[in-house]
């Protein structure tokens, strides 16, 4: 299968390792990965902050980038960005009266999958250890991000994949379904409420005794990880894709570094 990677802006700029891990997983399964070079961002920050006219060129760019290449399905290591592509892009097109863009956006959206959704529903991955060689001998917990859970209805797909990784111990996270408080610009506009939500999330994570918290959205993990770091905790966050890509031969450390011959490197 030819799979187009939508890296998402945050992974592209802040967590390239997660995009590389996504590529690695898909290639291991024997698929070809393409990276439409024109891609940038899904535009949900603009939409969710009320800046619809400013979101239009962002959405148009995404649609054009993913129309410009030939592929079977597109995938992003993010529930939130996929939800935006699937649920917001058509609305943005409508808001500027571009009916043609709306149709095109819907077509791109229909071919776009969140990573765990693609692995589980399309590529038939039910056991990461067996099918991907995933090996991650660490004690982890898992935060299901809101948009994956409530907009894409991912259910237990991410958790099931995580639990099927070789060597892993997955601790249940208390109050797992509670938002971490990120919410895009909410974290700045309503920083105090956002912080109060984050404090409860990090407290739940620390209560599990896990070495790290995993999840399927780099943005939420940046938020939670930023809070843990500020609290001086050694507990980190790591994307599900990084854990799935980790193998006995090339293990990934809890900070996401790929360890080669026991030496950490990026």
């Amino acid at each position: 299968m030819r799979i187009a990677l939508f890296a998402t802006c945050i992974v592209d700029a802040m967590y390239p390792r997660t995009a590389r891990a996504t590529v690695a997983i898909l290639e291991r399964l024997g698929h070809e990965v393409v990276f439409p070079a024109g891609q940038a961002c899904c535009g949900q920050m603009h939409v969710n902050s009320g800046y619809l006219p400013e979101a239009v060129p962002v959405v148009r760019n995404h649609v054009e980038a993913f129309e410009s290449q030939d592929y079977d399905v597109a995938v992003a290591p993010s529930g939130s960005c996929v939800a935006s592509v699937k649920h917001q892009h058509a609305m943005v097109a409508r808001s500027c009266g571009d009916a043609a863009l709306e149709v095109r956006a819907n077509a791109v959206g229909a071919k776009t999958y969140e990573l765990s959704e693609l692995l589980t529903d399309v590529l038939g991955v039910t056991n990461a250890a067996e099918q991907l060689g995933s090996w991650f001998p660490h004690n982890v917990t898992y935060h299901p991000s809101c948009h994956g859970m409530r907009l894409l209805r991912l259910g237990d797909r991410q958790l099931n994949l995580l639990q099927s990784v070789g060597g892993i111990t997955v601790q249940p996270l208390p109050q797992a379904d509670q938002c971490c408080g990120f919410g895009g610009t909410f974290s700045m506009k309503n920083a105090d409420v956002s912080t109060a939500m984050l404090e409860d999330k990090t407290a739940s994570i620390l209560a599990t005794g896990a070495e790290l918290c995993s999840g399927g959205d780099a943005s939420c993990l940046l938020h939670i990880g930023g809070g843990l770091s500020r609290e001086g905790s050694s507990v980190t966050t790591l994307h599900l894709a990084d854990i799935l890509a980790s193998t006995r031969e090339n293990p990934v450390s809890v900070t996401g570094d790929v360890l080669v011959s026991g030496k950490a490197s990026r």
Binding site: E27, G50, C146, S229
Partner: protein, 513 residues
Amino acid sequence: MSTTYLGMPALPVFGQGNLNATEPFPSAAKRELGNSQLRANLGHATHTIRDKRLRVVGELPDWEDLRSAGSATKQSVMARLPELLEQFEQNFTARGGVIHWARDAAEANEIVRDLIREQGADEVVKVKSMATQEIGLNEYLEEQGIAAFETDLAELIVQLDHDKPSHILVPAIHKNRTQVRDIFLREMPGVDPDLTDNPAKLAEAARAHLRRKFLSAKVAISGANFAIADAGTLAVVESEGNGRMCLTLPETLITVMGVEKLLPSWQDLEVFMQLLPRSSTGERMNPYTSLWTGVTEGDGPQNVHLVLLDNGRSAALADEMGRSALHCIRCSACMNVCPVYERTGGHAYGSTYPGPIGAILSPLMTGITSEENNSLPYASSLCGACYDACPVKINIPEILVHLRAEDVDSKRGKKKLPSQMDLMMKGASWAFSSGKHLGLLEKGLPLGRIAAGRRKKITKLPGLVGGWTQSRDIPAPPAASFRDWWAKEHGDPAAGSAPTDSTNTTTNTGERA
């Protein structure tokens, strides 16, 4: 002869009364967050109701179908509201009731005052009602020399404490029982000075206090949960029985109800009587449901009035994206599951309607530019828990986003200088509208690494983004973006990667190092 065209009345007529945030939500929230007692009370209460709701909702295999039915019924009511209102008026009037139409809070208050004065009364008993809180009826009547006594236990607590409700179903959710005992000791005439904080004892004290009022009041004031158009019937759904007393004992009953409360027929009530109790108190059925149709001679109130209140509902109805907010049946499930409400409480929202539904309903009814109501749609992380909990499927996150856009648009071209947010969004729009633009900016990632320094984290940023670093670090960015890595690996950025043997699990991860 000359004629003057007076035209249609100006539409929309926005709502007035207690519908406004008078302080921007972030600063009100900050103050409330500082109240640790409040947070403890609210955290405990919302989680208890949340769990109860989930249990009883889980019992119904057709819950999702019920939600869809409730949503569809309300949508059809909104589509033919004028027709149903006239049908209701006809049936209610035929059974001896009197209808009054109130455009806004001021008109409704005056109508109610005049009706009370007609009876020569200077005291009224009240059934818990959101509509009368919305129009500030108690305060208005007090100014006019009429004392209104709340008879719902929690409303009574709030009223005795000269406080404001903070939740639409559990108005005193922000108080614990020790605080309630102290309020009773301080404010309740003739209360037992040895009163403990035992809930049964507290309820008994309230019962004794209220019984005197029920037996002496000539006029009662209520709201209504539902109005059935084809029967002319009103319904009040409650837990304590105080409502039943108010609705049956006094000679005169005045009900104030928002025009959106209509249901077409009795059959529709079946759906809502399953949705409402389970969503609100987490009960299969509420203890008391009172239904009345006009006047029954020799039984119950002989003067039965209904004030049909617009107060901004037409304005909300005129908003295509926002009108489904009028489907709300005031169950409060959205606030019980909201992580923002759970931490700030209801007072932070200013309006009578707090929580997620209030954050959309208040600005829809008053207009987005009213006082500080434009800060309410931002009082959400858009986590979506409210939409999932809503028994009539109001897509609250979508309407929040719609109102944010309305707020931003209302300020376009009116500001002397763009805000930090405006500048950030403009810049990001440029950066994110092309892979080339973003790629160019990503060349600056090493600068971020320098800024992060030896500790490999950024801990302080200025201005708006300082909101982030207030409580979160940012890790040092990578040396290069994924985009750069891909281009290096594949040369032609559009080229695909070579599929590898699926049994070889090491090659590509090795490349990542």
